[in-house]
Symmetry: C2
Subunit: 331 residues, 2 copies
């Protein structure tokens, strides 16, 4: 083994999985991406995970026996301490998949298992936007809104593997939007990319001639969150209002965490951060308007630094944690 131990992280998504090797400081040495093909069943899925791990090690110019530990991150639902995916909506038809045991049996090194958003948070905490901070809250913005919380090097998994389901904090009672989860008034129903599109379509239906985005619909094309942010940056007023509302909703999400966890840093990640610094400034503006003065002044609000690599880097960090526990036990 090298003097400085090396770790593999694997981030399993509904469409593809990404594996990579990182060193003891969280620097990626090589990574690969392969299709998940969940529809082929979970045995295929497990074999594909092992295959991606091997390919990642080759991509880094290494051999498996140079790897000290492995971490695997997947979407839920899951039992994190048991290392099992339970009934994942994004990996159908998988059910009760013993991921950690399978990977451990295959590679015989310390193996960690973690929720994907938790892993991304731990990756940013270790080697990205949260590096050097004592605590960090991450919001992942995509089809849904996910979250991860790290306090003093501990990932807040929760007692029932439901820690940091930050998209499902209720922020509205009177006129609650329905969330993708079926619940009413969740943050996700306001602040996800899906909601950006939905709110835009509602605004266009109410006022069809008010926006350049109407032309997209007239061409028979779908409106994307990206197109809304683009139109806003080009001065489209309707799109500008949608973006501003989104910043406000995300600021509520951030503030609620500042009054709960009171972390050193709050990080946003996902496609929406392509909107750039101006959007981040609007989130910060609303946070300063709403939060208690001390956390409002001192909490850092940033974009992700690792982007889509955060998942596998964080999964590797979980592997590293398992390795260090093992080393302490053996030592």
């Amino acid at each position: 083994m090298a003097l400085s131990p090396l770790f593999v992280g694997l981030d399993v998504g509904g469409t593809s999985m990404k594996g990579g090797v990182v060193d003891d400081q969280g620097r990626p040495l090589g990574s690969v991406s392969m299709p998940t093909e969940a529809y082929k069943g979970q045995q295929h899925g497990l074999a594909r995970m092992a295959e991606t791990i091997r390919a990642a090690v080759r991509a880094a110019g290494l051999a498996m026996d140079q790897i000290a530990a492995i971490g695997v991150a997947t979407p839920g639902t899951m039992d994190i301490p048991a290392g099992i995916i339970l009934d994942p909506p994004n990996l159908k038809p998988w059910r009760n998949v013993p991921v950690r045991q399978y990977i451990y049996d295959t590679f015989q090194v310390p193996t960690a298992f973690q929720n994907d958003a938790n892993a991304a948070a731990y990756g940013e905490y270790w080697a990205g936007a949260g590096r050097g901070a004592h605590s960090m809250v991450l919001f992942t913005l995509g089809t849904g809104v996910g979250g991860g919380i790290v306090i003093g090097d501990t990932v807040i998994e929760g007692e029932h593997s439901h820690g940091a389901e930050l998209g499902h904090v209720k922020i509205e009672m009177t006129q609650p939007r329905q969330c993708g989860c079926g619940r009413m008034g969740c943050l996700e129903a306001y602040a996800s990319a899906t909601s950006v599109v939905k709110r835009t379509l509602e605004a266009l239906a109410a006022n069809p001639t008010s926006s350049t985005l109407s032309q997209v619909l007239d061409r028979g094309e779908d409106i994307t969150a990206r197109a809304v942010f683009m139109a806003a940056s080009q001065g489209d007023r309707l799109a500008g209002q949608i973006v501003e509302d989104t910043a406000y909703y995300l600021a509520i999400g951030a503030m609620n965490m500042m009054h709960t966890i009171d972390p050193s840093v709050i990080v946003f990640t996902g496609g929406m951060i392509g909107a750039g610094e101006a959007f981040l400034e609007r989130i910060r503006f609303h946070v300063k308007q709403m939060a208690f003065p001390v956390p409002a002044a001192r909490t850092q609000i940033r974009y992700s630094q690792l982007g889509t690599d955060a998942g596998f880097i964080g999964a590797a960090a979980c592997g590293r944690q398992a390795y260090r526990k093992q080393t302490v036990k053996d030592g």
Copy 2:
């Protein structure tokens, strides 16, 4: 020193302060209460704290040299790591009061300083409704709504001493009530005892003949939260609706923590829990309606077991933590 170390906890409130001695299992051996008299200034306040600590030790039939450590809990605003009260709205005209240093200088034993709601949470976690649990969230229901979070024996103080300000999580955007803190839509604006009274007065103004509580007003008396709960238990429909709404708001507070911290146990404390098991059942009902199925089924939702003693017992637990750190360092 006794074989099993003994600790003093002091819970400083706006009106009175309560000090007590507890043993190494959190059992109270004696306690006293004295008026805070904050208006007499902070030097008087500090002297009163020392006096209350000495009186508590006497009340337990002990001498000061039998005390291993002391913990002091106070309301905010504060800098917890520095051991200082900053600008406390409930202890005017105090400002920048070096509580921990003063108590340490006076008694020369390890001394801890903590926010009062955090201390109450730690007390319940150690020796009350959260005993044996890995993690716990406490809601304190009074004039305001406070909170405390304990995960794996660590109190989540936050990086800027604003951890677990759970009354100030925003739960409403469209028709937000104004909170005592000046913010809009905070949980406290819906679920505090103050809000119970305010919502009742609004309902009575809209429909004066609909409730037996109108008679209280007719007699020129003030309506209290206690009277509202009492009327509800006697079948008053208007009061019943206010109480039911309160259970719903508290369930939102609980659910939001189940989707953030996902604790083993959620505990409610404060005068409102005098409403008894029926009210707790309504909170549980709404939680089960709203939360994710797994935490909804498994998270314990309970009332406080220590009542108003939780503050000094928790403060003592913080002292015990300081003592154990000291012992590890010395040993």
